[in-house]
């Protein structure tokens, strides 16, 4: 017989078998699976058998019901699937049932997506919200308003400080370089600093720069306070408040 296990952070809170009667899920205590969390609606979702298939249906809940990672209104369930409501999830155990046409050896997945699809704005917002609630690993916030800055401490350049506001920063003699090195026989593009999702990376140009004395042959992530040297120019990379 199919079984639903309410989980919170890998701990089983409650288990219920699914029989002929629908299993109700929600914040209200009179549900078969009460979920004590403010993100869960009073009567959030229900699970029942229909034509031999286990089905989950969202009851117009505020924050939505998700199977694995996809927000659903109604979806068939498979052994190993997870139904997410708020920060809790409900593990689906349908292993004891009549075989369903599903490759259970594979990683569990909700409505399978082979074709590319686009989420509408609401679905996308909800899913991301839900995903961050589920993941609890959001690491935005701190240090977001800090501006990466190059402070020149030695050598000749056209400015003493450069705020790195572009995705691509070129250090060199070129008239188009962000950080212009002055003097004879300097390379047009000595080095480059590129912004990526997780920070700023220093890479070589025509010259091999150094960071804190170590030569840079490929992109190296810069940390607050790093000392960069290239073509006679010495700079500190700092995150300015």
């Amino acid at each position: 017989m199919a079984k639903l296990s309410l989980m919170f952070e890998e701990k089983t809170v409650k288990e219920v078998p699914v029989g002929s009667r629908p299993i109700s899920i929600g914040r209200s205590p009179d549900n078969d699976l009460p979920v004590d969390n403010l993100a869960v609606s009073n009567y959030h979702a229900r699970v029942y058998f229909e034509g031999g298939r286990l089905v989950v249906e969202d009851l117009d809940s505020l924050n939505g019901t998700f199977v694995n990672e996809l927000r659903i209104e109604r979806a068939t369930l498979h052994d190993g699937d997870s139904i997410w409501v708020g920060k809790h999830h409900i593990k689906v155990d349908a292993s004891g049932d009549a075989p369903v046409p599903w490759d259970s050896g594979r990683k569990a997945s909700a409505p399978r997506i082979n074709e590319t699809m686009v989420l509408d704005t609401k679905a996308r917002r909800d899913m991301l919200q839900q995903a961050s609630a589920a993941g609890e690993r959001v690491q935005f916030a701190s240090g977001r308003l800090k501006v990466p800055t190059l402070v020149v401490i030695g050598g000749k350049s056209d400015q003493k400080e450069y705020m790195l506001t572009n995705k691509l920063t070129v250090i060199g003699k070129s008239a188009m370089a962000t950080v212009k090195i002055k003097g004879w026989f300097k390379p047009a593009m000595a080095a480059q600093i590129n912004q990526r999702d997780d920070g700023y990376y220093l890479g070589p140009g025509e010259k091999m720069p150094t960071v804190n004395g170590a030569p840079v042959t490929g992109p190296v992530r810069l940390n607050d306070g790093d000392l960069i040297e290239v073509s006679g120019l010495r700079m500190n990379f700092i995150y300015r408040e």
Binding site: S109, T116, L119, T121, V138, N166, L168, D197
Partner: protein
Amino acid sequence: MRIVSGGVTDVGRVRTNNEDCFRIVESLNLYVLSDGMGGEAHGEVASELAVETIVKHCMDTGAESSGMQIGNIEPIWSEKTKRLTTAVHLANKNIYESAEANPDQHGMGATLTAAWIDGQKLSIAHVGDSRLYLLRSGTLQQLTSDHSLVAEQVRRGILTAAEAEESEMQSVLLRALGAVPDIEVDTEEHILFARDILMLCCDGLTRMVTEPEIAGTLQAETDPTKAAEKLVALANERGGVDNITVIVVRVGTESRGWFSWLRLWGRKKAAGNGSAGGR
């Protein structure tokens, strides 16, 4: 700056139809790539409509369309950047309206990545999960952000990059042309330098081929069309599960009179011959 480019599209090893579309307009240094989606043959309709609309709008220098602006257009952008961004909004509108008018086309859409080079200035307009890379002095940098669910989850720290690669949600896009009447277009301007290499590609390449392999191929093969062919062949060797489209654009050296000739001559002499050919 002298620019050479080449592009290749391939159906891959699994699918029977090619929903990708690309166009290189050499006279303008305009490069447009689109990956269509939607049942039946509608992905092809969407990607073709996207590319057609954009090329047409960028080539049309008539007074009527030159001042036309759709969407969020920043006054500081160059005329070409404004025009390219407007063209992408126009493409979205055309696909959306076509799908509204033809119920069987409902749900069709397309990604769009376009690059326009004007002198040293590069204009980029982008929606979806196709990509534009810059290879500069051996460093490969993705200039576009993927508008996919997994990419957003990585940016938010919910998934690691490795988990994203394993995810079965890779095909879920947060933005594409044709899904809604108004979209947000990512627009960027950059300065190009001598010997920069640009590569536009769809996810059919990047799901099969790693970034170090892309960088290696672009560096080793100086002929842009051959480089694109090699990357497509590599994606097919790995299974070619989706259509694969690649455009490679190589920026030459700035000609600065006799001194650059002298340097070129010096380099040729040093390398024996041929190595300076593609630059």
